[in-house]
Symmetry: C2
Subunit: 237 residues, 2 copies
């Protein structure tokens, strides 16, 4: 439980956590609920938000983002990239959001500037989603556009998606943060296409990846598929 001598209530971090299920790009969202009805006009919360937190008084902002992810997933060493800060003074104006903040933090909250991060994780890991005394789930990025999230989190996700698309152009090895340790060329191609918003030719894609020295072919194939099993690869170094 946040404590006013430990926390800095002016600055927060929010994480847009991307995952890839083999077909679509997903984002991890926290279910926002307040069960206890404190007074008559308090609504029940039943919407979603990005994982995030106000920062600790002596905490680096990158460390705060790592902490949020670790509390959420139990994992360390997740790929994290700060992409933008959101400081519009009206972003914390919705009474619904203010009430929720003050309930969950036990702090008097005014304006908050949030520093947003993109995180990439392998969706196949069994994750412990128990942060913020609530649960988290994966949602298709395309579905999210139609949902109404807390604060300005729709905008943050949209911007984070653009950011990671640009980053992948410059650093293609980021794709491997989203794939399982062993993967097929098809999975790599589909992920590549989802992020680049293209549809690559299968043969040309094979040609391209065969020139990547850091992609090593394994002596294994996938299992349990109702067709010819594809060769597995791993990312090396």
């Amino acid at each position: 439980m946040p404590n006013s001598t430990l926390y800095n209530p002016h600055i927060s971090v929010d994480c847009v956590v991307f995952g890839f299920d083999g077909e679509k790009l997903k984002v991890l969202l926290i279910e926002r609920r307040l069960d206890e009805q404190v007074d008559e006009q308090s609504e029940l919360y039943n919407d979603k938000k990005l994982p995030g937190s106000i920062i600790l008084n002596d905490e680096d902002i990158d460390d705060a983002a790592s902490r949020v992810l670790n509390e959420l997933t139990g994992l360390k060493n997740i790929y994290l990239s700060q992409f933008k800060s959101f400081g519009n003074p009206t972003r914390t104006n919705n009474p619904r959001d203010i009430l929720w903040l003050e309930r969950t933090t036990q702090l008097k909250i005014g304006r908050i500037v949030t520093v947003a991060y993109v995180a990439l994780i392998k969706i196949d890991r069994k994750l412990v989603f128990n942060a913020e005394d609530s649960s988290a789930n994966w949602y298709d990025v395309n579905e999210i556009e139609k949902m109404t999230l807390a604060f300005d989190h729709n905008t943050i996700i949209r911007t984070g998606l653009e950011h990671i698309r640009h980053r992948v152009d410059v650093e293609p090895h980021l794709l491997f943060e989203l794939l399982p340790k062993k993967f097929t060329i098809s999975q790599l191609r589909i992920l590549h296409d989802v992020l680049h918003q293209t549809r690559s030719d299968v043969r040309n894609f094979q040609k391209k990846v065969s020139q990547m020295p850091y992609l090593v072919m394994l002596d294994e194939t996938e299992e349990g598929v109702p067709h010819r099993a594809a060769r597995l690869y791993k990312y090396k170094k």
Copy 2:
């Protein structure tokens, strides 16, 4: 003079203002001086810092960056791009910096997270550099690496330079923010090379720019040069 009911002392903006003098890339730095000697151990300040400010209570962070630039140069509609926030808790630990902050803001200052922006301006404009009751000057980006600036401003400038280099790859028209309204192809090529850290071939560069529809040839040539005068161009649309 800052006033504690108007200003939010937890968040600031800093601007890395780039200019191009025809040869080298420059950054605008404020001379930091405190003339009045308040007590015996107070040093005289004679170093440099980025233009910046803590934000107003109800001010958007982008607006705060615009305000800083307008106060500094008198200009509006300057190209501005937020690139990173710096929130290491030790960045405001230097007693020298703390003292300076409290003197100039008249506020009790703790930790500050700063949101950093890159700005591009045409160096040929006659600018009114009178912000923060001090003066500002252009410095070569390469010289700055050897200087010791206030706070973590060396790091901010280095990161801002990387940022603008990437941006120019994606949006080549940003180059025209740095050039005078009328410019030669040589100027454009030299600026391009400075930012890409390359040395382009003159003929190949001419070929490339001749395919840019937004680059229009004027019926004028440069003047006062001790050699064949080059044709002038302007950027259209």
